[in-house]
Amino acid sequence: MNTIEIKSLDKSFNGEKVLDGTHMTVYESDIYGFLGPNGSGKTTTLRILCGILHPDRGEVSVLGQDPSLKGNLLRQRINILPESHGFYGWMRASEYLRFFGRLYGLNLSAEDCRMHLQQVGLDPADQRLIRTFSRGMKQRLGIARALLNEPEILFLDEPTNGLDPRGRRDIHDLLLRLNREKKMTIVISTHLLDDVERLCNRIAILHKTKIQYEGSIMGQVAEAMQINSGLESMYLACTGGEKQP
């Protein structure tokens, strides 16, 4: 079943096209890697899928609904970790989760907050002010917030930014567990090909306003992996870097 479907999506900013006839299909329980160079329109696509940006043209369907029209209802069922997620530095970690929980209609107890923080390894810092957090700690807190409403689809924009190798591995394990146990569909926009290779079963490569490649990472890319350095070679070929041998 298609969880996300995009057809002929166009979006411009100040007359400059960011997306031009983009298409994309994400199936239920996919971990979908969304790759592309800086400024290729990945974040714009994610914002359109969440209904906080509106497309100029094209069809967008998320869980069978149009995010432009039913954004509020849809956002009860999805969540996103944006790339630049500002924090309210004057809040404590548990207060932050309780505040956002209430926006989703959840009345989180101190124990619930601790449990949410525990799954991203932040429970020892639950009473600390967010402004004292390191970048990696903020990233973990952002992930905990994004998981509050147990979303059916989780969008992650550069989820392992600022995390140390151990933190990255913990987040990888958490995402794989959520996908396996809760059948959560996960869309990851990232530059880190290691993340994609470890997590994703399908990918799309966005370059020059268009999807250059969409498909299974296990099929076509596996073939490339045997020939050269795998996904990196594929990515560079699609985005105008080195040619795939």
């Binding site: 914002r47 209802l73 009860q76 969540n79 309210y88 209430r102």
Partner: protein, 250 residues
């Protein structure tokens, strides 16, 4: 509605329990102290009729409250956009209109604080004269309308502005334009253009109402035209705020 309450709590905490909030109200108290001291101790100003002094103090209190409302309104959406916190608010199921209403409630609370802080100053200036109680009542009514009008319009504008600085400069320009009744002086206000501006200007309407109650001791029937202007602007503000925040993009 249930999601608006935590938003109001957030606005309230951000505005009142932060160092920024404390600094704003401390500066506000300083300004009120200076003016009330001048009105009771300065040789020339202390010769003013007591009712006139109360009216002047009322105008200063309203001016201060409006300045705070303009700053908070400009900061509403544009400031969150600057601090990159707007996106995480917009990705929740809360409608932008609800976020705007919570922010407007926060601005209104700021007026309640300013009003509470101003009571001893107004008392110090007007306790020996007449019409002090009507001054309190009409100051509260006029201030409430004006803070909602200015705060709401600025919130609507800031929803479409990219930066706090841009929104604030427009807000301060509007504030100075509408403060015209104080700046242009009594003789100009009596001219045809002055009277026309006074009738259309909500700030002018509010000050005329306080003047009419405190200085001229006129009853509520004389205040109805001024109140009508304020109510009309309040209705227009709610319409404008809804139109501007129905769809907020980053």
């Amino acid at each position: 509605m249930s999601c608006v309450i935590p938003l109001i709590y957030k606005e309230f905490t951000e505005d009142f329990f932060s160092s920024r909030g404390a600094a704003v109200y401390l500066v506000g108290c300083g300004i009120l102290s200076v003016f009330s001291l001048l009105l009771v101790s300065n040789t020339e100003l202390s010769l003013l009729d007591n009712a006139q002094a109360v009216y002047m103090m009322g105008a200063i209190i309203i001016g201060l409250a409006l300045l705070i409302a303009v700053i908070l309104g400009s900061d509403g959406f544009a400031g969150e956009r600057d601090r990159e916190t707007l996106e995480i608010m917009l990705i929740t199921p809360v409608r932008p209109v609800d976020i705007a209403m919570a922010k407007l409630a926060g601005i209104f609370f700021s007026w309640l604080i300013v009003f509470a802080l101003s009571i001893p100053y107004l008392w110090a200036v007007g306790s020996t004269g007449q019409n002090l109680w009507p001054a309190f009542i009409y100051l509260f009514i006029a201030g409430s309308f004006l803070v909602l009008i200015f705060g709401g319009f600025m919130l609507g504008l800031s929803a479409r502005m990219k930066t706090f600085k841009g929104a604030l400069s427009i807000g301060l320009t509007l504030f100075l334009l509408s403060a015209g009744p104080i700046i242009i002086g009594p003789s100009l206000r009596q001219s045809t253009i002055g009277r026309f501006i006074d009738r259309l200007n909500p700030f002018g309407g509010a000050l005329n109402m306080i003047d009419s109650v405190v200085v001229d001791s006129q009853n509520i029937f004389f205040q109805l035209p001024h109140l009508a202007v304020l109510i009309l602007y309040t209705v227009a503000m709610f319409w404008f705020l809804y139109a501007m925040t129905r769809r907020v993009e980053l």
